[in-house]
Structure formats: structure tokens, C-alpha cells
Amino acid sequence: MPAIYRASFGFLRRHPWQLGLAILGICIGVAVMVAVDLANQSSRKAFLMSMDTLNGQATHQIVAGPGGVDETIYTTLRVEHGIRRIAPIVSGYAHAGEVALQLLGVDVFAEADFRQYTAPANFETDLAASPDTGPGQPEDMVRRFLTVNGSVLMSAATAAELALSPGDSFEILVNGKQRQAVLTGILRGNDGREVGGLVVTDIANAQYWLEMQGRLSRIDVRVAANDEQRLSEIRGSLPPGTELLSASGRTETTAEMSDAFMTNLTAMSFLALLVGIFLIYNSVAFAVLQRRELIGVLRALGVTRGQTFRIILSEAAVVGTLGAALGLLAGVWLGEKLLVLVARALSDHYFAVNVTDVAISSASVVKGFVAGLGATLVAATVPAIEASSFQPRLALTRSTLEQRAGRAVPRLGYSGIGLIFLSALMLALSGRSLVIGLIALFVLILGFAFCIPFIVRGISNALAPFAGRIGGTAGRLAIGGVGKTLSRTGIAIVALAIAVSATIGVSVMVGSFRASVSDWLGSTLQSDVYVGVPRGSLDPALIPDLTSLPGIAEYSTSRRAWLETDNGRTRILAIRMAPGSYAGTNIRDADPEHVWRQFNQDSAVLVSDSYAYRHETQAGEFVTLNTPQGRVELRVAAVYQSYDSNDGAIMMSRNTYNRYFDDSAIDSIGLYLNDGFDVDLVMNSLREVSEGRQSLIMNSNDNIRDISMAIFDRTFVITNVLYWLAVGVAIIGIFGAMLALQLERAREFGVLRALGMTPGQTGVLVSLQTAFIGFLAGLTAIPLGLVMAWVLVEVINRRAFGWQIDIAISAQPLLAAMALAIGAALLAGIYPSWHAGHARPALAMREE
């Protein structure tokens, strides 16, 4: 390494703390970003892969509404139209003990063109000898698969999870009913891929278990690319309400449901990196400031400006590379932790994801590395330019620097205000774009950050006289010091303020959201007891027996079904309202009485907030649905409040539903009790009636609310983790800044010590200063945090999920944020203040 670089790097080597903190800052920023990216991508990939395996070679799927596909359509296609590359599928869900399973009913004879793993050729052949057929052979396997009552296949891993061996019988719960299953063979994925949590059974058995006789979940279709003729032939032979859709398109649509969720996580991960950028800026700027003499000497010796700039930047590059590389490693580690949270949130809200390992994609790694290194270089550019502007003079005095920084403060403030305006403009003009909304949020944060030094100087100048009166010389030194050392403390305050404001923004948003959901649950959950079946529907014969029990005054029924519409896959809610149910639906901006009349008498529907936002649908407009009766247009009577699904839903009366759809299933009923009847007693009699017929889930009103809130809180765990990581980065920033500041002022402290200040007093001085820094950060974070909360609620959440949330601000998150800011600063100041107190005066004065 040339001596000129060694001269400069030697400084970093002598200050390993600063070097280490800078690297750590980048490392955490990159790690968070990479981790979120990996967790997102891995869950998505796992979902797509499992869909890929389940869909196999299917290019298209024939689907129909809630009632499923009429099975005779399949026979007609095959026997009359001679279309062979199609396969019937009956699918659903099951439980074996506590293990949730996906149930796939297939016709093995149609599978060869689709799923290799279900083909008999792949059946495990080395089954233990069985008494009736001798050593297992593939033909026995097929024979048994087709003829043994309750025969199922599963992967070796799933069999191991359930502690089953081939030949074993076991209980399986499907649609709330206990069934006897026999494991007759082991599925082996043909390229080592295994679909976990999957049981495959014969289609006849699947129809029996799922009570779907006569109906198919879908028909898989395989058509050569661009064989439009075949596609239109198939389409032509389908009845109304049954559609031929692209398989990949369906999968993609399902996967896209989670896009907004993932985008928000990604944005959160950028926050940590943004805080990291400030930290880097801080570190590099310090390193430059502290070497002003060195740089002066180098310049006098003939080092050019360009060389100076390059030295500083290449230092940053080394730090950035190290930090980013470590960040990648940490990111993979963190990614595995986050994956659990992301997968759970996705499973709670969007689709089942069965994934435990992060799939490390080179794209994520490259992105993380480039972002980390890029952020470092960007952050280092400003100090590098500053370094190269040093005159080759021998001493730039501290005060000159502060003067310069002082002059920059208002300029920075003006550009900050400009950025805030820009952000407001972006928010106003970007329509419904989530990504631009998020960018605008970052511009807003940046703009605010630029204003912070100005605000801080004002506050500390205003407070300095009081500080002197209260805290004496130490107080004056501490607090006056902050304002006068903005070039060093300003950035640290900004970094902390941003991190803290993020916690305010997010916690106010989450708190408001939580309050809205809680209110909504309170009004929606009108029934006293809810009865349903885990992932299934109620036995129609059971319903009259349940609802006629003593104590039950009224009941409502509900059916949640999916329907392919022109707007993609849409949730349909078919409700039979009990008199008490109406109050449970909060209708927006319309006269409820009028709306309900239309709902009950004119086949009008309601759409949820999210649906209305997503599809830009308003009351008075029409939604078009594909039904077995053909396409029908239903009038939207009103928009209703719902936090049920961010994809939105269309609600219709059960009568309307029955009129258009060939589906009598009821998923759950809500029971209204007569006064004086005890919920627990009624639940007991419900249990008695259903005993042996169907295993039901029963929840009281309160239970449902608790469960819903638990899911809500679970969803935001990952958000909390991310903003605490950002706070962590900020604490590191403060720590580094305080350390550098004490280093910078070592001589001053040496003098103070020489003049008779005790180590304790020096420590107090430093602690006071850091506490004051924390206080300033907290104070400035509050307005920024509140604005952020507003943007998150009104812009980001709305654009991402279509939710309407009422902002609720309480003092608690603000006080918590202030405590956090001061606490973080004090925590960061512990070592520096100890250091300042214990510096030996003579050495301190001599150093540098």
C-alpha cells in the first residue's frame, strides 16, 4: 500500500472503535435489508415451488365458483371431445392430530401428464412385505391406492412427522369429521423435491372425505404453448360460471396478494440502512475532521485535492466492503429468524407457506452488497469533498470548522424544507402508487433530517443560559457544547431522531390500526357464540339440531368462498343475517336502512373498504360475477368497514347467493342467545349435539376477539423487530459520535482534569451532554414521528391494503419515544464518559 494511503489508514487503525462502529453500522443496515429480502423471497419462492409441484405441468385450470366444477364436465371433455391432457383434482384440507395437511385427490390414470410425484412409477417399492400380497411391488401399490378404503400417500418427511409407516392406519380429521386413513405408500418427488404437509388420495375418497361428491375443485389442463385452438375448444364446451384460466396466472395472482405486505417490509428494511447511512456519514466526517492537520500536511507536501478525495473515498470503500460483507453473513442469519415471522404472517393472511430454510439468492446478495457499499460511498462523498477542500495550511482551527458548519446549518434547513415540500407534492400527485408513497416518505424523513441541526441549534442556544444557572459550569459546558459542536453532534442527533421518529410513526400507526380493528371487532361480533369447522363447512343436517337448542334466539350463517372475477380472485361473503346482525356491519356514508333493504330485496351487494379502494368501486356501481347462470351484474349498495382481508370482499345475502350459485355450504353460524342463558352451558349442549357427528370449533364472542387481536399482534411482531434494529443502528451511531467527541475533546478534558475536575465530574459532564443529545433527538423526533404516522396510515396503509384507519394519538408512544431517545443516548454515552473521566490529564493533553 502506498505510504500516502497508509498515512491515512493508520488513523483508522489507531481508532479501532470508530472503525468497528462504522463497519457495524453498515453491517446491520445491510443485514436487515438482506434478511428481509431473503425472508420475502424465500417465502414467495416456497409458495411458488409448492404450487409448481401441485400444479405440475398444468398450463391451465378449469375452475368454477364456490360450488366447484361439475365432474361431468371432465367426462365430457375426455370422452366426447377427446381431450386427454386433463386431470381432475379434488383438494382441501385435513388434520392428523395437530398436523395440518393439504389433501389432494387425484385420478392416477390422468396424472402422468401432470405430476410426476403421484405417478405409480415413483411409488416407493421397498415396502415391507405384507401378509396378503407378499413383497411390495409397484402394481400392488397402485392396486392398494385404488382399492384400500382410506388409502393415502405422503412424503417420507410427512410420514415421519406423523410417525407413520406404510401399512399403518391413522385418524384424519376432514371437514370436522374423523376418518380412517391407511398409509399405503410413500411419495417420492422426482427431483428430490418433496411437498411437505401433503396427503394424496384417490379422487373418489377425496370427494367422500371432503363431501364433494359430484364436484371437482378444478380440472388441470395441459396445452401446448399457443394452442389457441385447443383452448377455445375447451372454453366452448364449458358451461357458464366455469372458466379456463392460466395456471401460472392463478398462482401469480395468489402470490401477488402478499406484494404490498412484502413491499412494506422492504421499506422498513431500508429505514435501517438509511439510519446506517447517517452513521457512516458521521464516522467518515469525524475521521476527516480529526485528520485535518494530517491532511493539511499531506496537502503541503504536494498531495492534490483529487488524491485527498480518493484517499477518503477508498477508506470508505474498504469500510463499506467489510461492513457489507459482514452484513451479508449476518443477513442470512437474521433472514432465517425473520423467515419464521414472515411465513407465519403470510400463512395467517394470504396463503399457506411451508418453509424453514432461506434460499440464498445471488440477486439478494448482490443487492445487499451494492446497497451497503453504495450507501457508504454516498455517505462518504460529502466529507471527502470537505477533506479535499482543506487548504494546505497547517492548522484549521476548530472554530473555523464550527463557523463553517454553522453557516451550513441554515442552508441545510432550507433544503430540508424544500424536500418536505417535494415529499408533499409527491404524495399529492402519486395517486395510488405504493412505491412512490414510500419514496415520498423517505424524502420526507430526509427533509426533516436536514432541518434537525437548525432546530437543535436553536433549542440548545436558547437553553444554554438556563443550563448554566441550573447545572453550573458543567451544565454550561455540556449543553453549550452541543450547540457549538454541531459539526460533530448534529449527525448523531439526526440519526437518533430518525430512528426514534420511526418508532413513533410505526407505533402510532399500529396503535391506531389496533384500535380501529378492536372497535370493528367489537361491533362486528354481534353473536354470542360462533360455531364453525376447521377449514371446512358445517354438516347441513347438523345445523337445525344446533340452532334449535334451548336458549338460542336467533342465528346467522356465513359462507366465505372464492370466485374468479374480472378483477381476479375475489372473496365472496354470503350471509344470512339474524335481526341482530345488521348492527355488526358498519356502513360507510349511506343510510343503513336503505342499504339493507336493497341488500335483502334487490340482490344488491356490499363491498369492503379494501375492495372499494383496490377496484375503485363506489356505491351505485355494479360488480360483475361469473355464475352458473352466466354473468350477472349486481349493484353495490354501499361500502362497509372491514379489516378482514386486504384483498377485499363482496358481501351478499344468502338468498342472493343461493339464487346465483349452486352451493349450499355454510362455513359458520353465529348464535344469539336468549337473555339469561349462559354461554358456556349453551356451548356444552352444542358439543353434546355434535358429538360423534362433526367436530366443531366453538368460540364465544370474546374468544374470537382475543384470537383476532392475537393474530393482529403477531403480524406486527416483524415490524417491531425491524424498527428496533433501526434504533440499534442509531444507538451505535450515538455511541460512535460520543466516543469521537470525547476523543476530539480529550485535550480539553485533560485541561479540565488538570484544573482539578474529578473523573466523576468529567463523567457527569459527558453524561449530561449525551442525555441532552438524546433529549434533543427525542424532541425533534416527535413531530417527524407524528407526520410519519399520518403518512403511514393515510397513504401507505391505504395504498398497500386499502384499509381505512382512524388515527389515534396518545401520549404513551411519545413519552416512550422520549425515554427511548434519552435512554439510548445515555447508554451510548456510558463508555465515552468513563473514558473521558479516566483519561490521564498529561497524556490527554499531549495526544495529537
Binding site: G10, L294, V297, L301, G302
Partner: protein, 229 residues
């Protein structure tokens, strides 16, 4: 070390430089004209604030005058761009400072090497020259030491070695003995005398001490930004 083949003639015409202190203008140099002959050693004397350092900074191109011209070996420093000045300084001028200004993060030999590298001198040649220089200043055994463990006199001898490493045509010394006790100062001056003056190099020493005079060909007195005598 000889500089016989590389001597500079320095010509200064009507040089003025002032600084602002708040609202008040402070003239450091006023219409100063002076010439330094090739191979000449000149002592520049004056009290603190008399403009000595400013003059040296202007000669080396570290600072730019408000008016006037500086010419070194026939080349106008004042007409050059910032970059040209830096490169000219790097190649032709050596500096010795009162505060030594060694790079604390580099060893003694690396401090010298820095200058050689800047001038594009190859590693082997640089190694040889560093040894020779350290021999000349009597610090060969401290080659790998770091500046902060050297005494003041030793540090200044390293600084002299560094200043002469790239064989500059002109050596500027700003209070080279200002931080040293008398005996050590004497040694440093002797060293400069030996390595520059006796070898025929051009040297300008700014100082407020009288002792320098005996090593100089000429003594110039600077008072309030102008030459007296």
C-alpha cells in the same frame, strides 16, 4: 546531499496579502519585492505576525496573494492553477516546519517515502535514498520508529530528511528551531547548513531567533509586512 545542479532563483514582485478578521482587514504583506539568488541561504527575521509564514506560504504556492507575483526558477507560481501549484510544490519545494508536522501514523522511513512516492520514485531507489538521508541526519537506527516516540530534535531531523528527499530546488524552513531547546536548535541548523547551504542549495529560513544569522548569506528583517534594512 547536493543541490548544485538544481538551484532556484526566487523573484518576488509587489506582493500583497491581507486577511479578514471579522470586520477588520489586516494587511500581512504590503507590496513586497525581493529576490533570492541561486544557492543563497537567507534568514528571514521578524516578530510573530510579521508576515514571515505568509511569505513562505506564498512562495510555496500554499497560499495565493491578493496582488503581485512570485517566480521560482523563472516559473510564475502565482499564474498557476491550484493543481499546478500542488504539483510544482510536490516536485520542487521542500518544507521544514516549526511543529515538525510528521505524519504520526507513519514510521520515520515512511514519512520520507511518502514524498518520494508522490514524486513517482521507484521503491528500490526510494529505499536507497531513505537510507542515505537517514544516514545524513544520523537517524538510521530509528527508521522504523514512529514520530511520537522521537524527541523534538529527532523529529525535526526527520522533517529535514523528508524535505530534502525529492531533491527540491528550494527549501523553505518556517521557524525550524522554534520548538527546540538551544542545543538541539544548534544541531538542526548545522544540519541544514551542511545539507543545503554547503551543498549549494537555495534556502529561506523564517525565524525570530538571532542564531540563524551565522548560517545565512543574508538576513532580511520583516516588519508589518514590509522589509526593513
Amino acid at each position: 546531499m547536493t543541490t548544485t545542479n538544481k538551484r532556484a532563483q526566487v523573484r518576488i514582485r509587489d506582493l500583497s496579502r491581507s486577511f479578514w478578521e471579522g470586520e477588520r482587514q489586516h494587511d500581512v504583506l504590503r507590496n513586497l519585492s525581493v529576490e533570492f539568488a541561486q544557492g543563497e541561504t537567507v534568514a528571514l527575521r521578524g516578530r510573530s505576525g510579521s508576515g514571515k509564514s505568509t511569505l513562505l506560504n506564498l512562495i510555496s504556492g500554499i497560499d495565493v496573494p491578493d496582488a503581485g507575483e512570485v517566480e521560482v526558477s523563472g516559473k510564475s507560481i502565482t499564474g498557476m492553477s491550484e493543481r499546478e501549484r500542488t504539483l510544482f510544490r510536490r516536485e520542487h519545494i521542500g518544507f521544514v516546519y516549526q511543529a515538525f508536522n510528521l505524519v504520526s501514523t507513519l514510521s520515520v522511513s515512511d514519512n520520507i517515502r511518502l514524498v518520494l512516492e508522490l514524486n513517482g520514485i521507484g521503491r528500490e531507489q526510494a529505499d536507497q535514498r531513505i537510507l542515505k538521508l537517514l544516514d545524513a541526519v544520523g537517524l538510521r537506527d530509528r527508521a522504523e520508529s514512529y514520530p511520537d516516540i522521537l524527541s523534538g530534535g529527532e523529529q525535526q531531523r526527520v522533517a529535514i530528511a523528508r524535505a530534502l528527499a525529492h531533491e527540491p530546488v528550494l527549501l523553505l524552513a518556517d521557524e525550524p528551531t522554534g520548538n527546540l531547546d538551544d542545543r538541539t536548535a544548534e544541531g538542526v541548523l548545522q544540519l541544514l547548513d551542511e545539507l543545503v547551504r554547503q551543498a549549494g542549495g537555495t534556502m529561506i529560513i523564517a525565524t525570530h531567533s538571532a542564531g540563524v544569522a551565522e548560517y545565512s548569506d543574508r538576513v532580511l528583517e520583516l516588519q508589518n509586512g514590509a522589509l526593513v534594512s
